[in-house]
């Protein structure tokens, strides 16, 4: 990887975590990243990126597998020419960390001029028993930051979540045949336990779709028990949750329960933050 690619990779991680790991107190993020890339070998940076992948802003897709993970499970679940940079087997659990080549073709709007920018896109795949998790770090939306703040319009993105998921499905079919996991049960059980509450919920009624958005800092279960009682019996669509424990490393997550998608829109300061939320949902599902 080039220094620029390593720097862009590290930029996807919370600055406090970078400072704490490399003992770079008081450095601005750009300075901290530049120092790490200059002083640290690539394997150390990749090891950090894999270990702390749960701290990134990410989209997690959960799948049921038709067969348990066992000998014969592919050493590269994405397949093609995308190979994992780190692969581990821990007991019956298989972990794969990828840095996928991702290229954005863009237009600089103020010039105007065509240009492009390349990233190494961190993706973590985890397979255990009959459950597959594909975790995509979400990329910076504002690519203008890489062009001195110039306004940028993205023309083409070379690879996206949908195309990676399709590759995984093709690699794992027909033996493991991944299908999106419905996590309504796990989410509702966790909500019932008051692990979290919701500032915005969307659900299906028999003949309509409802979105409930609470004002200010109000939450549905606490303030609208009537609404809560209705939606716990309905299929949940895109619903936001706020973790009630203020000390939790994860503050908010967004769930599309019928499709098995969990989105973590903010950094988590500790890797166990997002993994704990996912584990709790799976345990109760």
């Amino acid at each position: 990887m080039t220094r620029n690619e390593l720097a862009r990779l590290l930029n996807l991680y919370p600055v406090d975590l970078l400072r704490a790991t490399w003992d770079l107190n008081n450095l601005h993020k750009d300075q901290a990243v530049a120092r790490i890339v200059k002083d640290s070998p690539e394997p150390a940076i990749l090891d950090f990126a894999a270990k702390h992948h749960p701290c990134t802003r990410q989209h997690v897709y959960l799948f049921d597998l038709a067969s348990p993970v066992e000998n014969g499970f592919p050493s590269n679940p994405i397949g093609g020419n995308i190979a994992p940079v780190i692969r581990r087997v821990v007991g019956g659990r298989r972990e794969y960390f990828f840095c996928v080549d991702l290229k954005f073709a863009i237009v600089l709007l103020n010039v105007p001029r065509h240009d492009h920018i390349e990233f190494k896109w961190p993706i973590f795949i985890l397979a255990e028993d009959r459950v597959l998790q594909i975790k995509f770090t979400t990329m910076e939306k504002d690519l203008g930051a890489y062009f001195d703040g110039a306004p940028v319009s993205v023309r083409v993105r070379s690879v996206d979540e949908k195309s990676i998921i399709q590759s995984v499905k093709e690699t794992l079919s027909p033996t493991w045949e991944p299908s999106p996991m419905d996590i309504n049960k796990g989410i509702k059980a966790l909500w019932e336990q008051d692990f979290m509450d919701s500032p915005q919920a969307q659900w299906k009624n028999a003949k309509s779709t409802t979105i409930e958005t609470m004002d200010e800092h109000l939450m549905i279960k606490r303030e609208r028990q009537d609404v809560y009682n209705t939606l716990v019996n309905a299929p949940l669509l895109k619903t936001q949750f706020q973790v009630r424990d203020d000390e939790s490393p994860v503050s908010r997550f967004v769930v599309d329960a019928g499709s098995g998608i969990i989105k973590f829109p903010k950094f988590s300061m500790r890797p166990e933050g997002t993994t704990d939320v996912i584990a709790k949902i799976l345990e109760l599902n």
């Binding site: 939306k141 500032p199 915005q200 958005t213 200010e216 967004v254 989105k263």
Partner: protein, 122 residues
């Protein structure tokens, strides 16, 4: 109790006529922290301007407090409520739009819509 006094105020206001039938209903169904002019209009069947006048009258009588709800131009959520326009900060973020990964989730004061509502003085 302020709501009862508000109902009495309606009864005594010239031209409005006595309020009778929905007295219990408004007490039962109105959130005393979020009373909108439309709530009053719908309950009593007054024209909107009359309902708005009564709410402002209730403010002057110190039965209600007027609040400004600042709403997100994208999702409609009240982000913040303030007592006067002077209390509106220059910039307000919408946590719901941020979590929904909207490109824009921070708004200048002039981008936010104002929604007036009233709170019952207890």
């Amino acid at each position: 109790m302020s709501l009862q006094r508000f109902l009495n105020l309606i009864d005594k206001t010239p031209g409005i006529g006595p309020f009778l039938a929905k007295r219990e209903e408004i007490i039962e169904h109105t959130d005393p922290d979020r009373i909108y002019v439309e709530n009053i209009r719908a309950f009593f069947g007054f024209p909107f301007k009359v309902a708005a006048f009564l709410c402002e009258l209730a403010v002057r009588q110190r039965l209600f407090v007027r609040k400004f709800g600042l709403t997100c131009p994208q999702c409609g959520k009240i982000l913040l409520s303030v007592d006067s326009e002077d209390d509106i900060p220059n910039e307000v973020a919408c946590d719901v739009c941020e979590a929904n990964e909207r490109d824009k989730y921070t708004f200048q004061a002039q981008e936010l819509e104002r929604l007036i509502f009233y709170q019952l003085v207890r």
